[in-house]
């Protein structure tokens, strides 16, 4: 978290003109990768994530556990040109960690016990990054899983919350990500009130933190609506 003297909120408006509770322009499309069993492309403002799902497909179990329930393999990758300074190809520690927490964000919605000896592979590529990439990726992954016909208890919604200049906000863009007082990415099952991913970087009071989480769950419902629309759109010729 960097420090700046620049004001991030002026006259109630954020750097890009949004209100604190306002989401960026969201675009969602499924079925964008013909080779995959399911796929989706999701953008929040300038952040663009592409997700492909392959599976359930055969896994050669190395542990007993893997022969009793299926597993999810989640790989989050950022394209070299997705960020300001060219990123060297290959997973960084940050990406490895994101892959792990994202995998755990999806597992609760899947019926892995019904798929022993299989793997559901989720591949994410961030082709342009402008803040909140991991939650954008989760939105795309959720759509790709549904598109792939993988049975799910619920879709998964991802949204970041945060605090900037003492004001709680949602859907942090890149600059806000860098200069905020707190950055809280969250993923949850919208019909179940189950939070499956929750992280925080920052420094807030418990009250502030709780309020941000609640707010994200509330605003996240708009994202859910868009996901439903995107899934149904494919079949409404």
């Amino acid at each position: 978290m960097m420090k700046t003297n620049e004001k991030m909120i002026i006259n109630g408006k954020r750097l890009d003109g949004r209100k604190p509770d306002e989401l960026r322009e969201i675009k969602m499309e499924v079925g964008v990768i013909p080779n995959a069993n399911g796929s989706a492309r999701v953008s929040f403002g300038k952040t663009i994530a592409i997700a492909a799902v392959y599976g359930p497909r055969k896994l050669f179990p190395r542990h007993k556990q893997e022969s009793e329930t299926g597993i999810v393999q989640y790989n989050y990758d950022m394209a070299t040109f997705s960020v300001d300074e060219r990123k060297r190809p290959g997973p960084s520690r940050r990406e490895i960690e994101i892959s792990k927490v994202s995998r755990l964000a999806l597992e609760p919605t899947l019926f892995l016990k019904n798929f022993p000896k299989t793997t559901i592979d989720v591949f994410i590529e961030i082709i342009q990054a402008d803040g909140s990439t991991r939650v954008t990726a989760i939105n795309a992954a959720s759509l790709a899983l549904a598109d792939a016909g993988v049975p799910m208890r619920d879709l998964v919604v991802g949204l970041s919350g945060g605090m900037i200049d003492g004001v709680p906000i949602v859907d942090l863009c890149g600059k806000e990500d860098n200069y905020c007082d707190a950055d809280i990415p969250i993923a949850f099952l919208p019909n179940k009130n189950e939070i499956t991913l929750l992280q925080m970087d920052g420094r807030l009071t418990p009250k502030e933190t709780k309020a941000i989480v609640r707010n994200v769950l509330h605003v996240g419902k708009e994202i859910y609506k868009k996901q439903v629309e995107a899934l149904k759109k494919k079949y409404s010729e």
């Binding site: 040109f81 060219r86 994410i124």
Partner: protein, 272 residues
């Protein structure tokens, strides 16, 4: 069995999707899909979908070219794009793809690298061309090199602020791109030459020849890929094809055409 079927059709000069042997699939071009990169392009040839991003960073010049910027081309085969692509394996194939695409740009001296000098002998611009297949259905080299040249032509050079840092918010000049190299891959199987092979067709080819040509009609790079052999007549023929098809694709770059459909009305008028 699928392969047998493809070969049977080829014997009659036919292909599964109804195309002629020297016909490209539908080509769709998207300019600057990644706004934040210095340059970018997306090209779809049939179902093969490739994004190329261009980044510019400070770098050191090569000792024997103290005034010249440096071109670096990379290709990432992300497992997103095909069920057989495996994680964490850079491998020979993406490396070869990157190098073939690179050769076409480099040997034709497409980028006027002398204009990319910042401080002689010390600091120059590095131009990174990164090729990412998003969906792989064959002919990645042609799609990747087409996307690369389109991306380069749309690239702008960042300025340098008063502290000597790269300022990407203020892009001033376009990257000096003085040629339009186009790489065409010609596949050989039995005695047939086919262009723009799909993934399945690539599997049955004896070998491929990738030939890059420029708008001046010069051949600037060649790469033979695969274990099969070519006669000198084969090579003659393939070079001619590369020049002719290169002209077709080059028009797309110059006209800025977005969608080009194959001439054959695939599947409609075919008998049997």
């Amino acid at each position: 069995m699928r392969s047998e079927f493809i070969l049977k059709l080829l014997e009659k000069n036919e292909r599964i999707d109804g195309r002629k042997l020297d016909e490209f699939r539908e080509i769709i071009i998207e300019k600057r899909p990644i706004e934040r990169a210095e340059g970018s392009a997306r090209v779809k040839i049939g179902d093969t979908d490739v994004i190329v991003g261009i980044k510019m960073e400070f770098g050191e010049p090569y000792p024997d070219a103290p005034n010249s910027g440096v071109l670096m081309t990379g290709a990432e085969f992300i497992p997103l794009a095909h069920p057989d692509f495996e994680l964490g394996k850079p491998g020979e194939i993406p490396t070869e793809v990157a190098r073939v695409i690179d050769r076409g740009i480099r040997e034709s001296e497409t980028i006027d690298v002398e204009k990319l000098c910042i401080e002689e002998g010390k600091k120059v611009w590095n131009v990174f061309v990164d090729v990412y297949p998003i969906n792989y259905d064959g002919n990645l080299i042609d799609a990747g090199s087409l996307a690369s040249i389109i991306a380069l032509k749309s690239t702008n050079i960042p300025t340098i602020d008063k502290d000597g840092n790269i300022d990407r918010e203020n892009l001033k000049n376009s990257l000096p791109v003085v040629h339009t190299p186009i790489t065409i891959t010609i596949g050989k199987v039995m005695d047939k030459m086919i262009i723009d092979p799909t993934f399945e067709e690539e599997e049955i080819l004896d070998c491929k020849l990738c030939v890059a040509t420029t708008e001046e009609g010069k051949v600037v790079s060649i790469q033979k890929i695969g274990v099969g052999v070519l006669t000198d007549d084969d090579v003659d023929q393939m070079i001619d094809i590369a020049i002719e098809k290169g002209k077709e694709l080059r028009k797309l770059v110059e006209d800025g055409k977005k969608i080009v459909k194959p001439k054959t009305k695939a599947n409609k008028s075919r008998k049997g």
